[in-house]
């Protein structure tokens, strides 16, 4: 019974795209600040407990490795969840193809060569509906896109609660001097609008970010920042904060290293039907450099 529940929770956590429930999904770039001609980065992508160790499941990304050979991300026999769609945006706004993609038991990995000077953004964004209902006294769950809902949920479903989920995971990388083009928000879901450039983070200095929901400043966003390397720490070292009325958050980095930032917002007002609740999440892997 306990196991079933655990798997159900895990399956849910993994299926809710990039959800942080119980596990953390992340991409880890080999470097975020680069010099020289057309440098490369290599990126690991995984779903794990500890940051940034691949110890649980690979992040399934469309086009990265042989997905049909890879673990589904849950109990044996589980139907694999749809692979995430990765966007690699170059400083001029064009899209690049990741190279040398592979998926293993614990992680996906791919490379990106950076042909232009400026800031690149790697992004995985998802939007979908999650429905809970009961049918013939049995609790059911469903996940999918809005236009599939009517077909998927039986007409006699009871206690139907539909939640809109938006998630976004980002990594920023700069070759040469930082640029702004890729930082422009898309206006969908929960996003981070940098005031401090995300590749200009230094230990002991404060960085300011603005959180936006559908392009508008979002107040009261819960933000958690965790330094990587917690496998060898007794304390998580989490920095918790909330966005102010203008969506602003200020974070002072205690030490250099890779950090995992996660932001979440749940609302029940002004939610598009048939959803009555909305849950939006954002995460980013940020590198803080030494003084």
């Amino acid at each position: 019974m306990k196991m079933t529940y655990k798997w159900a929770a895990l399956t849910l956590a993994l299926c809710l795209p990039l959800s942080a429930q119980a596990h953390r999904a992340w991409m880890l770039p080999s470097a975020t600040v680069l010099s020289g001609d057309e440098p490369w980065i290599s990126v690991d992508a995984a779903v794990s407990n500890d940051l940034f160790y691949f110890e649980h499941f690979p992040l399934r990304i469309a086009g990265i490795g042989a997905l049909d050979q890879a673990p589904a991300g849950g109990p044996p026999g589980m139907r694999p969840r749809p692979a995430a769609v990765l966007q690699v945006l170059a400083p001029d706004g064009s899209q690049l193809q990741p190279r040398n993609g592979a998926i293993g038991r614990y992680r996906s990995t791919f490379d990106v060569q950076l042909p232009l000077k400026g800031t690149y953004k790697l992004a995985i964004a998802n939007q979908g509906l999650f429905a809970r209902y009961s049918e013939n006294g049995e609790n059911k769950r469903w996940m999918g896109k809005a236009d599939e809902l009517a077909k998927a949920i039986p007409a006699d479903a009871k206690d139907l609660v539909v939640t809109q989920n938006d998630s976004r995971m980002e990594v920023f990388v700069t070759s040469g001097a930082p640029s702004e083009t890729v930082l422009k928000p898309t206006g969908k879901g929960l996003e981070l609008k940098p005031v401090t450039h995300p590749n200009d983070l230094f230990a002991g200095e404060a960085a300011t970010f603005i959180f936006l929901l559908d392009g508008k400043p979002a107040a009261d966003v819960e933000v958690s920042v965790i330094p990587g390397g917690n496998r060898y720490r007794d304390q998580l070292g989490e920095i918790k904060t909330r966005s102010d009325a203008n969506g602003h958050v200020s974070i002072t980095w205690p030490s250099p290293g890779m950090y995992w930032l996660e932001a979440e917002l749940s609302i029940s007002e002004n939610v598009a039907k048939p959803a009555t609740e909305r849950r939006a999440s954002y995460s980013a892997t940020l590198e803080v450099l030494p003084q």
Partner: protein, 170 residues
Amino acid sequence: MRKPLLYGLGSLFAAPALAAEMSLSVEIPRLDVAEYHRPYVAIWLEGSGQQHVADLAVWYDLKLADAEGEKWLKDLRQWWRRSGRNLQMPVDGISGATRAVGTYALQLNDQQGPLKTLAAGDYQLVVEAAREVGGRELLRLPFSWPPQQNRTESVQGQHELGAITLELKP
């Protein structure tokens, strides 16, 4: 053969003895390590708020094929942030090859180069060193420009840099 000599004489006359001068000495220490590579070193001036004012020198591996040596310039973390990332390397008068263990002198005066246009005020001389498979060290020496009297400032590095000495003459 003749030109460099003439040029040397010319600059000698262009810099009268009364010019305010800055002499800098930077020591690259001998290190007891299994694998030693000469460090990348950046030397620059900064104003208040660590604002970058002028680069004095960047020593890096500029002889590697395909400018491969520039790949590691970002390891001079603060210099890269304040200046390097905005430059097209190499830069005349600033770029130079990495230096072997020893003490190196830089001479500047207010008749030419960055000191010619340096406004009166408080500054810091910054020396940052980063070594392949080694460490990184950054040292700062505060000074006021132009100097009112002879003045010597020095600081001792701990692991990547040796003694840094700054001599100012009005």
